[in-house]
Symmetry: C2
Amino acid sequence: MFEPSTPSGKPGEAHAHIAITPVPTAPLSPHTIKVACSNCNLRELCMPLGLSPSELEKIDDVVASRRKVKRGSTLFRNGERFTSLYAIRTGFFKTCVASEDGRDQVTGFQMAGEVIGLDGIVNDHHTCDAVALEDAEVCVMPFERIEELSREVNALQRHVHKIMSREIVRENGVMLLLGSMRAEERLAAFLLNLVQRLHARGFSQSELVLRMTREEIGSYLGLKLETVSRTFSKFVEDGIVEVKQRHVRILNTDALKDIVNPKVCN
Amino acid sequence: MFEPSTPSGKPGEAHAHIAITPVPTAPLSPHTIKVACSNCNLRELCMPLGLSPSELEKIDDVVASRRKVKRGSTLFRNGERFTSLYAIRTGFFKTCVASEDGRDQVTGFQMAGEVIGLDGIVNDHHTCDAVALEDAEVCVMPFERIEELSREVNALQRHVHKIMSREIVRENGVMLLLGSMRAEERLAAFLLNLVQRLHARGFSQSELVLRMTREEIGSYLGLKLETVSRTFSKFVEDGIVEVKQRHVRILNTDALKDIVNPKVCN
DNA sequence: CGCCGCATTGACGTTCGTCAAGTCTAGTGG
DNA sequence: CCACTAGACTTGACGAACGTCAATGCGGCG
């Protein structure tokens, strides 16, 4: 489909790191650098394909700046005013919502090339938190500019619609998972989804490093951290995966798929 | 906020019916009639507010036709080609996704003024079924036209974005519910949500008729139908609601709210 | 009037949550 | 370089919540 430029090459020794080694030069303005999409290697992921050169030039204006987010800190928070969407350049995020009485729920994990902040459009305020699970950098795309440009560039308009629709469909899938699957099925589906997205970014099909804790996985999957841990152990016993803390190697992808979608017979 | 024109009036005797009595005249073309938004009483719900007269005129072109959907039949199905969004005029729908092995999950219940079909945009094909739970009528809005018009009418563009964002936020809420709430909390949240949306359409704050079976409620809430039934019975015992089959009267809204969001102290 | 789908209720089983103890690892500072 | 510590993870025992299975009741529609 498309050629990954940065990663790939030597899997095994180098684990699936999304983070690019941080540039040591200190930015003058706090966390903002000026750049362009047209020669960004993630363009295929966050921007529409098949643009004409003139359109490509316009598209560059979508990104107002970049912003670095340190591990553990938030890109935006529930209640904050919504101004921009963010395309992830490097790093890994979680988004989570909270109920009034303090419970919270991880609603997604996002990686390079994915866009976050869509929740803020309805009410001009964000309704969830976006937290960096490792040092990250995002492209800040003021939504006003996106709307403006997508009136001129049809492909961009279409693209924005698709991104939002994709998020809706993804959440439908999570609802299916939360509503009707058992612990093993949930974790299997989770691993397959993660590794598939990483693979699309040039990483291994069988090896991954979890950027989140068991508790965060559990929150996403509607399970307690102990259940996540036990289920990992079960998979290890069954020879389906190897797990060493956050390093996971999938030994039998078919078995995982079979857990998610049990075939009754044939 | 806005004046409901059709319902309201005499609650109690007339239960919360969304359906308008069907027009007896048989349509010539199968289920399609030609109409305009500009004088539709649901405009405030599915269209942007504060349009200029000239914009209003343009907006009328968004709706290509209307379509009647009989109770139990589908408006669209998983796998079908996506062409249009649908604004519900009358009736009540459920949307549901299915996993390959046959399990299915209700992802939402939609009523008059709400828009369905957003899932189809990403892949040009629908990824869920939309089933009418009572005889219904929808406005067919070809997505190409929507995109075209929203390039000209900024308010429409913004509106489309908001509708999609709203759906994302709604699903975030459902994920919180499915991931972290217990049966009573889920059902309480469900009832409050339904009655609130009905109230916004001019119906009673305390009385409603469920258009769906216990099984469908259960699917939506990630519970089995027996659990839904038992939880209803529990609420009745506690004097929080009256239930007679699908007729529900809420006796103590605060108690329901308290179940959803337990206050520890003060 | 009788049938069928939907709903209720009870008894029992399974899965997952809770609580608690103990282990491992990465990061820190001496 | 190593010991120490805090946070993350694992594992076990037990219990609660919900699912499963089955019997029965009810109401709407033909």
